[in-house]
């Protein structure tokens, strides 16, 4: 990770009246990276994106684009382009004119613009649509033109503001792969904003999970999912069981926690400095059931069952507490457990995480 940074967000805060949208946000986006800002609505991710685009100015802190301060630079002077949520294609221009718009403003000569527009249309497989107007296109086609328009001038950074949210499910899946391929082929830094964790995990090189106007954690999709640093991240990404307990021993990187499970669990910990209250997080798919149970074995009673085809989700009761677990239907559904059955469940200590307050 010694690549130079494309964008540095330096201690940025943004207030709208009394409301703090961004609270001392500080991180770097590396060059040629597919970087995702992920968080629930109102977490500040869109504000941050608009700030990089130049539609908002920070209340405090600064932004660097390839080392140069841009916080006060007007949007039309930044070599940064945006794919807008609803694409914002100019309705009175043809697709070619839409793509050429930015190049004309940069003062390219006509022949070069024509050549580039042709190449961009080809890149998004829309050559035959050059003379159409945006209202003659489907959602997916508009998306492609918006991408072609934003990439035409080869910006330093491409910003994508929830570009898949307006598409239907199947198209969204296909566009994910296209976007990822486009990013690899062009080598342009992508900054992608979404509230959809699956999109983020699927496409990103690195993810910044945002919540309450702060960056909660930055890391690769695997780090974010497997090693959440805070309760917020563990809760927002994927599904998990939280068990409240008391840390009875810790050495900085690992700790032992006593919960209502009845067995003490010793595993990796975050933000634990000594004995005190903490939370044990264990994801449903890490808990084995029946013949798949291994590690810490517990007995439980099945409370509910949700059959989802590839997986069956169970809620089981261990002593006083309810646990959600997920079982892959590898064989057939014949061996399913029924509500009220007593079943053996188990998980490895190392798959659980202890999160401090």
């Amino acid at each position: 990770m010694s690549r130079p940074s494309a964008i540095e967000v330096v201690n940025v805060s943004k207030k709208f009246g009394d409301y703090t949208a961004l609270d001392h946000v500080d991180f770097k986006i590396l060059q040629n990276e597919f970087f995702t800002l992920l968080g629930p609505s109102g977490c500040g991710k869109t504000t941050l994106l608009r700030m990089i685009a130049g539609f908002e100015t920070p209340s405090a802190g600064t932004l660097l684009l390839k080392g140069k301060a841009i916080a006060q630079m007007p949007a039309h002077k930044r070599r940064v382009n945006t794919v807008f949520q609803n694409y914002a294609l100019f309705p009175h221009m043809t697709l070619s004119q839409n793509i050429a718009f930015g190049l004309e403003n940069l003062g390219w000569d006509k022949a070069r613009i024509r050549e580039r527009v042709g190449r961009m249309l080809e890149m998004v497989h829309m050559e035959d649509f050059a003379a159409r107007k945006p209202d003659q296109l489907s959602g997916g086609q508009r998306q492609r033109i918006a991408l072609a328009r934003a990439l035409a001038s080869e910006p330093e950074v491409l910003l994508l503001d929830e570009p898949l949210s307006a598409l239907d499910l199947k198209l969204r899946q296909a566009m994910r792969n296209e976007l990822r391929a486009l990013q690899r082929d062009t080598g342009i830094t992508f900054v992608f904003v979404t509230h959809d964790q699956e999109e983020a995990l699927d496409m990103s090189d690195r993810i910044a999970v945002m919540g309450h106007g702060r960056v909660q954690q930055i890391g690769t999709p695997i780090e974010i999912y497997e090693d959440p640093k805070t309760r917020f991240v563990a809760d927002f990404i994927g599904d998990t069981n939280f068990l409240e307990g008391e840390v009875i021993a810790s050495d900085g990187s690992t700790a032992t926690i006593r919960t209502a499970l009845g067995t003490d669990v010793t595993t990796t910990c975050e933000n634990v400095s000594g004995p005190g209250p903490a939370t044990l997080s264990i994801r449903p798919e890490k808990i084995g059931v029946g013949e798949q149970a291994e590690g810490l074995i517990l007995t439980s009673t099945v409370l509910s069952r949700n059959y989802l085809g590839g997986f069956t989700h169970y809620t089981v009761r261990v002593g006083e507490i309810d646990l959600r677990l997920s079982r892959r239907n590898a064989q057939s559904h014949q061996d399913a457990f029924d509500i009220g059955d007593a079943v053996r469940i188990g998980f490895r200590d190392s798959n659980a995480r202890i999160l401090g307050q």
């Binding site: 130049g54 039309h76 945006t82 914002a88 403003n105 107007k133 934003a150």
Partner: protein
């Protein structure tokens, strides 16, 4: 819906249109080709003298001579109407843009204020400008207050006339332009800036084209009544420069030449229809681009 109902159901509307629009126009058309009565009024006898009079005068020898004096009046009317329309466009665009950016509540208040003058009689409103522009009027006093020389003569100029016309008709421009501006997705303006478009480029290449339907509608609404306007030339222009409207009014009044007045009115009507036809031909092109 039965065929009969479709016919008779529309009958009241037809009756109203025929009685209040078609019949009066036919009467005026009839009068324009009638003979001038000896003591005013007209006699029902086919006579094209009135139309001839627009272009020619009878010289001493009864020979027809080309005389462009009425053509000049028509040209002047066109010019003033056009100038008024252009000024209204220039003023209405920023006003509409400003209103469109306000909160929903403020928008309603501002639009109401724009239409407010319509609640007052046109004559009263034009008279108000007499007080503002007149001798020792508000404008002159303010000018002197700031140390200006003793000036007079704002009133009874073409400037005063155009000021009055702009004032009278600008609400008809602001409303349709506002309707267009208000529909523009703010993301389009951001997209323009994002794609290296300066403010000027954004105005010229994004905002103006998207406002074109409103500008067109507003221009028609301002230009057409300006062609026939009477009050402003009379009160603010001092009647020094004849316009088509005042010319028609004089023919039916003092000059007692009804057929000639009717003929000028028909020419005016022809111009209005021409403008509307040109606009109608433009319309399909605009709907094609989804506006």
């Amino acid at each position: 819906m039965s065929k009969a109902f479709r016919f008779w159901g529309l009958a009241p509307a037809w009756a109203l249109m025929i009685l209040t629009l078609i019949v009066p126009i036919l009467i005026v058309a009839g009068v324009s080709v009638a003979e001038r009565g000896a003591y005013g009024g007209f006699d029902w006898a086919f006579d094209l003298t009135s139309y001839r009079q627009i272009l020619f005068t009878e010289g001493w020898t009864d020979a027809l001579e080309f005389d462009p004096k009425y053509l000049w009046i028509i040209a002047r009317t066109m010019l003033y109407a056009l100038t008024t329309t252009v000024i209204c466009v220039a003023l209405a665009l920023p006003v509409s843009y400003f209103i469109a950016q306000q909160s929903a509540r403020v928008k309603i208040i501002l639009i109401y204020l724009v239409t407010l003058p319509f609640w007052v009689s046109m004559i009263v409103r034009v008279y108000a400008w007499l007080i503002i522009l007149g001798n020792d009027g508000i404008l002159e006093r303010v000018y002197r207050l700031f140390g200006g020389a003793d000036v007079s003569g704002f009133l009874f100029t073409s400037g005063a006339m155009i000021t009055g016309m702009v004032y009278s008709y600008i609400p008809l421009m602001v409303l349709p332009v506002y309707a267009s501006v208000e529909k523009i997705d703010p993301a389009l303006i951001e997209a323009s800036h994002d794609l290296y478009g300066s403010r000027w480029v954004t105005l010229r290449r994004v905002i103006l084209p998207l406002t074109a339907p409103g500008l067109m509608a507003g221009s028609i609404l301002v230009f057409v009544p300006c062609l026939g306007t009477v009050l402003e030339p009379m009160l603010l222009g001092g009647g020094k420069q004849l316009m088509m409207g005042t010319l028609i009014q004089t023919q039916f009044g003092g000059a007692r030449n009804w057929p000639f007045g009717a003929a000028i009115a028909m020419v005016l009507l022809a111009f209005v229809v021409l403008v509307l036809l040109i606009n109608a031909r433009r319309m399909p092109r605009q709907s094609e681009i989804g506006l």
